[in-house]
Symmetry: C2
Subunit: 230 residues, 2 copies
């Protein structure tokens, strides 16, 4: 497909990939704060100013890493959602995918789900890959509902929330009941709150190691969503 017309274009694509690779390596070694354009260039045997031909600023490099991270996590959770078994097993697999990926790539997790860089405005290009995770989770809940295996919640929604739920449901047709979608969103925030707390050390000394607490909480959230027992 991509015949990569000229030699220059092939070299450019190759170098862009290598820069991101080296940047990711430094990210893993010393975090986003410690990622230095000059160090990346040095490691690649080029001078720092040459790097600006590929990424116009340090923030743009970080944005590229963010998009890659979102996509990597998105692919993982989508694969988990597509496994066989009942809905509860698939829910477990999705949650485990998020936690496993986060523990394997803590700095990349921190980059996308930790504090945004000051003054950093998430560019348009990040929102699509960023939404893959919530879409996968909510789609799973919606599928369970469509198959009728779900005990549907009878929560009352305020008019504003009902409208937001409807807007949100529109991106993953066919529509599902608002109260159920909102419960899905709650479980989504719980999942990431727990994973973030584990990674950032807020569970140290109490629910530590976090494995049992995580497993238990996944079951409670499955109950909360009305998923049938396995």
């Amino acid at each position: 497909m991509n015949a990569s017309r000229t030699a220059r274009e092939r070299a450019r694509a190759e170098l862009t990939r290598e820069i991101k690779e080296e940047a990711r390596r430094q990210l893993r070694a010393s975090g986003a704060q410690g990622l230095s354009l000059r160090a990346v260039a040095r490691e690649l045997g080029m001078v720092s100013s040459a790097l600006y031909r590929y990424f116009p600023s340090r923030d743009e490099l970080l944005t590229a890493l963010i998009i890659d991270a979102y996509d990597a996590l998105g692919a993982r959770i989508e694969a988990a959602a597509g496994t066989g078994g009942g809905f509860r097993e698939r829910w477990r697999a999705c949650c485990a995918a998020v936690r496993d990926w986060a523990r394997e790539h803590p700095h990349e997790y921190a980059l996308v789900y930790g504090s945004p860089v000051p003054g950093y405005q998430a560019p348009e290009a990040t929102i699509a890959p960023a939404s893959r995770v919530p879409v996968a989770l909510l789609s799973l809940v919606r599928d369970a509902w469509r198959e009728g295996v779900l005990t549907e919640p009878a929560d009352e929604l305020s008019p504003e929330l009902a409208e937001q739920a409807e807007r949100t449901a529109a991106v993953i047709p066919p529509a599902m009941p608002g109260p159920l979608l909102v419960r899905g969103a709650i479980a989504w925030t719980q999942l990431f709150g727990m994973v973030g707390f584990e990674l950032f050390g807020h569970l140290d000394g109490t629910m530590d190691p976090a494995g049992p607490f995580f497993a238990h909480s996944v079951e409670r959230m499955a109950d909360f969503l009305g998923l049938p027992p396995a």
Copy 2:
């Protein structure tokens, strides 16, 4: 109590306070990344090297700000927990206290609950103020349980989790049932997951503005804890 013995000691305490104040101002303006020792010194009319007499490094300054932030949030939630009304109202007040404080001090929230600075190890001095929030939340649940107004959960705990729950409950005697404490911890992670997502823009475009979603989720978590309806 603190007669502040010598003039030198008074001046030192005063300057330490002023440094933290100016640092907090810069934090609010440009985030943790943008906090510069030299800029703080400049703003205070002193030379940068003089600042090192008060804080041995930039990280130590940040640690001082972190402790202050934990204490400020801790004081807020403790005040909210101590208000009158039923347990559900107090639960609402606690959750609102966390969200309100976070929205009022987004950069300080990011500092303590966002990604930890790379290679930054939370010093001993932070764990006591950091625990004020979970202690306040769990104490509220425990009080409701002691008064018998709670429908106690019948969740089964794995042996490891039961042991962790027991260890955790020991710091807020008298002991409470493990399954209930774990539900409290789940609600705790949900609360901070949701607040973090709102602050860091992960709800933009869906549950945005986040007020209705927040209010609804607080009720669902109150149900989840078995708190009686208001």
